[in-house]
Amino acid sequence: MHIPDGFLSPPVAIATGIASAAVIAVALNRTRASLGLRQAPIMGLTTAFVFAAQMINFPVAGGTSGHLLGGALASVVLGNPWAATLAMSTVFIIQSILFADGGITALGANIFNMGLVGIWVGWWLLQPLQQLLGGSRNRLPLAAGIAAALSVVAASVCCAIELAISGTVPLNIALPAMVGVHILIGIGEGVITGGVLTYLVKVRPDLLPGEKPQLQKWLAPVVGVLLISGVLSLFASSWPDGLDSVAEKYGFKDKESAAIENPTPLADYKVKGLEEQPIGTSIAGLLGSAVSFGAAFGIAQLVKPKDV
């Protein structure tokens, strides 16, 4: 998933570069206090470990290979997504500058996709999943494995969107191709992450987060909504709903009026250009959930009493 030079347009490269630099600055600020004597070797070694692990590709279908991204694994081992952000960013900087693995002009995008999205999606999914699976430390490897797999897919979606915005490849080609391959790579990532953590849970549980991780109140419902709208929506029935079915059966379906032209690019829960792709339903679901949440939050802010 390392984007080489020449694949991204300057605006996309600059925007992702600025976003990555901003998050790295925040991460440096957040970890400066927590990086004690005990943490420094773990941080350095985890960085080296992810760097080495990314050099080993495993085969996936269709003559393609993938490698561990390690974002979710790093965030669990370090117990802090901000520290993991720094470790992963360091890996991508070394890879890009010293080994030409990922372009220099695309460094911001690579850090954004594999570092930030890969880490934070994994971290946000990990805690609700662990709670969902019973909350014990023994469930951490399974939760982390699932979170790691989904984080790889999320990173590939971002990568495909960046390539499409840059005009390198159309979205209806990039998105299914990238997501299809990275679902397989994600399975590999999940297996490796889960396996490594299973070993660490048995041998060095002191390195890992405790039994009951601090779960932010908003995290579980938000992650639940995103999983339903983004993943479960793929399995929705394609049959017509009750009214559509009756209309078809009794022959008044053709009275459906197109008098008011609907300008939405998300008609029928599809994304323009991705009408035939299941991923279009996922994106429409995620966007719909985000808009609904934003609208509800805005209304709540307007109507809540001033003294609360």
Binding site: P4, T31, L35, M43, A48, F49, V91, T105, V191
Partner: protein, 219 residues
């Protein structure tokens, strides 16, 4: 082996690579000039040709898989550009003195917080690779070699064991460094001499000139 200091060599290499990275795609003449500079640089550093060729071959195979779907003309430019970048950086890496990878990384123009991580990562990468070799050797001594031997490395428990063994050593190394007065940086020769600074400035100006020229309609 070159007499130039490691940070100076790194800065010069980076200047050329970053200049190439920001070039306009399809500017063949300017890429050719950068290619000549890269060859001179590699010759100056006296990089071992055989190892360099092996590394470049392996890395180009991976790169070609990525860029070939872009069409021949674009792909060949991107490949050549990557080849020149790889030639410069591999020449630098292959001529580093032993155990100085971490010190070399310290020369990267990064914020202090990231520099410490980079330094430790560079140090611990050597520990990690040494641990891999030890585990490999002990596996061979136990008769675990042969055609299916790679399966061992696909075992996540082995990866976990590798991580823990390396961590134990890393903690010992870190404790030893602390006892010797380590406080987040090594006593490296990162202070540039005025002559080195002048050369780096000249290199930056040259690279900037070539990269900006690649966007002009000339050639």
């Amino acid at each position: 082996m070159s007499k130039l200091s490691i940070p100076f060599r790194l800065r010069l290499s980076l200047t050329i690579v970053i200049g190439i990275g920001f070039m306009k795609t399809g500017a063949w003449l300017w890429l050719g000039i950068y290619g000549a500079i890269a060859l001179l640089w590699s010759f100056w550093l006296r990089a071992p040709l055989r190892t360099l060729a092996q590394l470049l071959g392996a890395e180009l195979l991976f790169l070609s898989l990525l860029v070939l779907p872009q069409g021949w003309e674009r792909a060949s430019f991107l490949l050549l550009r990557s080849l020149i970048c790889l030639l410069i950086m591999n020449s630098f890496l292959l001529t580093l003195p032993p155990h100085s990878f971490g010190i070399a990384l310290k020369g990267l123009p990064l914020p202090a917080g990231l520099q410490e991580i980079v330094l430790l990562a560079g140090q611990y990468l050597e520990i990690l690779l040494a641990e891999v070799n030890r585990m490999k050797r002990s596996a061979q001594l136990r008769g675990l070699s042969g055609t299916g031997g790679w399966l061992r490395y696909a075992s996540a428990s082995m990866i976990g064991a590798l991580y823990l063994r390396s961590l134990d050593r890393a903690e010992r190394v870190h404790a030893a460094m602390m006892i010797r007065g380590y406080q987040g940086s090594l006593p490296t020769d990162s202070k540039s001499t005025p002559k080195e600074r002048l050369w780096v400035t000249l290199a930056i100006l040259t690279a900037a000139g070539l990269t900006i020229a690649s966007y002009s309609n000339w050639a």
